[in-house]
């Protein structure tokens, strides 16, 4: 009998060892699968969800929540399952709650990357605070600025978590924190990258603006140099005499004069009329003298009175063309016989008084002739002049 008794005991021991081994294998399996599940996740919110689901599933809890308090970004993130209307916490509220939790942990103080269990969760977190009856709660610290809590209701088996289960929960939490830390680093990198991208965009815009500004400056510089050249040239022109200016003044004056003369009531022909008129019949000095001697002609000086008074043919009467209508009737109109010839003389380099007067005389008398050579030719032949 004595030899039989150790065998069942050994079998029982072996069976316990087997069960223990199975549990450990299960724990390792859980850790492995959890790690594999977290591997592709980089967003904190998704990590929270995955962690809560894994923990609730592993420990058979129907209600649970995870709270993460980030002092650096002053944000509180949470995830809950099986709780009707999970409340939102402010940073202050979350910190107060965590502080209460730390007071009630086994260790009182947690090192970075470690987790600790609250000794009497229902007392620390009443049902009204989290929305469900907390049965198990653990606090964790990633670093000085990131910490949080995971809380579960009683498991479906109604039994308290064994020491091994608690170790598994601690292991899962620590493992999860590694991913959480990575996610945070990733988010930091992402934010830095975003910032860099914005800065790059700003820089690119600045470079574009600068290039445009440089182009504008070049255009303005060119305009400035052209302006300088123009003013310089104008200054040079102002300071000296230019024949071109005189030419311009002459052209301008001519254009203005012709335009004004065209529209003015006092306008005059640009070229004197005698240029286009048919010349009156001529008579030479000798013939004229004979006609005068025979009384067949009268002699008229067509020049202005001043010139007439200077020197004229002795027998001539002075009838200046502008005064023709007044003087003609007085000096010639009454005495002139129809068969007599009127001999007209008087011209200068600038004015053909004889032609003007002849045109007027022809309107009243048939026989009108111009004496060729005028006073000079008359005097040359030795005929009398006066005074």
């Amino acid at each position: 009998m004595a030899a039989e008794s150790p065998l069942p005991e050994a079998i029982e021991q072996a069976s316990r060892a087997q069960a223990d081994l199975d549990r450990r294998v299960f724990h390792l399996q859980t850790l492995y699968e959890f790690t594999a599940e977290l591997s592709p996740l980089v967003a904190t919110d998704k990590l929270l969800e995955a962690f809560l689901l894994t923990v609730m599933g592993t420990f058979g809890a129907s209600q649970g929540c995870v709270l993460l308090c980030d002092r650096e970004s002053r944000a509180v993130r949470s995830a809950g399952r099986g709780i009707p209307g999970l409340r939102e916490w402010t940073l202050e509220e979350a910190e107060q709650m965590l502080y209460r939790g730390f007071q009630a942990t086994e260790e009182r103080r947690l090192e970075p990357m470690s987790a600790g269990f609250i000794l009497d969760p229902p007392a620390v977190f009443p049902e009204s605070e989290l929305g469900f009856g907390v049965h198990t709660a653990a606090l964790f610290t990633v670093d000085d600025t990131l910490m949080g809590m995971v809380a579960l209701c009683q498991s479906l088996s109604q039994s308290a978590l064994s020491a091994e289960a608690r170790e598994l929960l601690r292991g899962l939490t620590v493992n999860w924190m590694v991913f959480l830390k990575n996610a945070r680093a990733f988010e930091t990198i992402h934010a830095l990258n975003e910032d860099l991208r914005r800065t790059n965009a700003d820089l690119r815009q600045t470079i574009t603006d600068l290039t445009e500004a440089r182009h504008q400056i070049r255009v303005l510089e060119f305009a400035k140099s052209r302006l300088k050249q123009l003013i310089q040239r104008e200054i040079e022109r102002t300071g000296r005499f230019r024949a071109a200016d005189i030419l311009l003044m002459v052209i301008l004056s001519t254009v203005l004069a012709l335009a004004f003369n065209y529209s003015s009531p006092n306008g005059i022909p640009v070229v004197p009329e005698p240029v286009f008129q048919e010349q009156a019949p001529r008579v030479d000095v000798l013939t004229a003298h004979q006609l005068l001697t025979r009384g067949e002609a009268v002699l008229v000086d067509a020049r202005p009175p001043e010139l007439f008074q200077q020197k004229h043919i002795a027998e001539a009467v002075n009838i200046p063309a502008p005064l023709f209508d007044v003087i003609y009737p007085m000096k010639l109109g009454r005495t002139l016989k129809p068969e007599q010839t009127v001999l007209v003389y008087g011209r200068t380099i600038s004015k053909r008084y004889d032609e003007d007067l002849t045109q007027r005389l022809l309107q009243r008398h048939d026989q009108v002739r111009v004496l060729e050579g005028g006073v000079a030719a008359w005097e040359e032949k030795g005929f009398p002049v006066a005074p």
């Binding site: 000296r240 003044m249 600038s350 004015k351």
Partner: protein, 161 residues
Amino acid sequence: MKWPGWLKTSIAHPVLGLLLRAYVGGVFIYASMYKINYPGEFAETIASYQLVPFWAVNLMALVMPWAELVSGILMVLGVRTKSAAAAIGGMLVMFSLAILITLLRGIPIGCGCFTSVEEPLGWGTLGRDLLWLIMTLHVYFFPSALQLEGRLPKSLQEVEG
């Protein structure tokens, strides 16, 4: 002969230049007015000098007053002052020569400088024209104030600044 400093300064003073510019330019503007309105009378005056060929008398009577007006305005404003002074100087030389020749020839006519009805041409007329000619030479050779184009150097400074 050395000129006293104050005389030199006075003669070269820009205000004197401005006064002469305004006076001579003003005389030319005034002289042009009647002649522009009554070119026929002015043509008679030109003809009475017996210096211009008869086919050119009317054209000269039309253009000359406008040339006086344009150069007079330019001179008063101070635009192309040297060129305007040269034009006015040229016209004054021409007038003086015409008067001198007419006086020597003894043709009894009116000056026709401003209107057609004026005192007869005399040596005083020639002296007056020569005085204006000296004033014009002053405008040509010395600087004068308040020229419209006098602002250009300042504009250049502003562009460079």
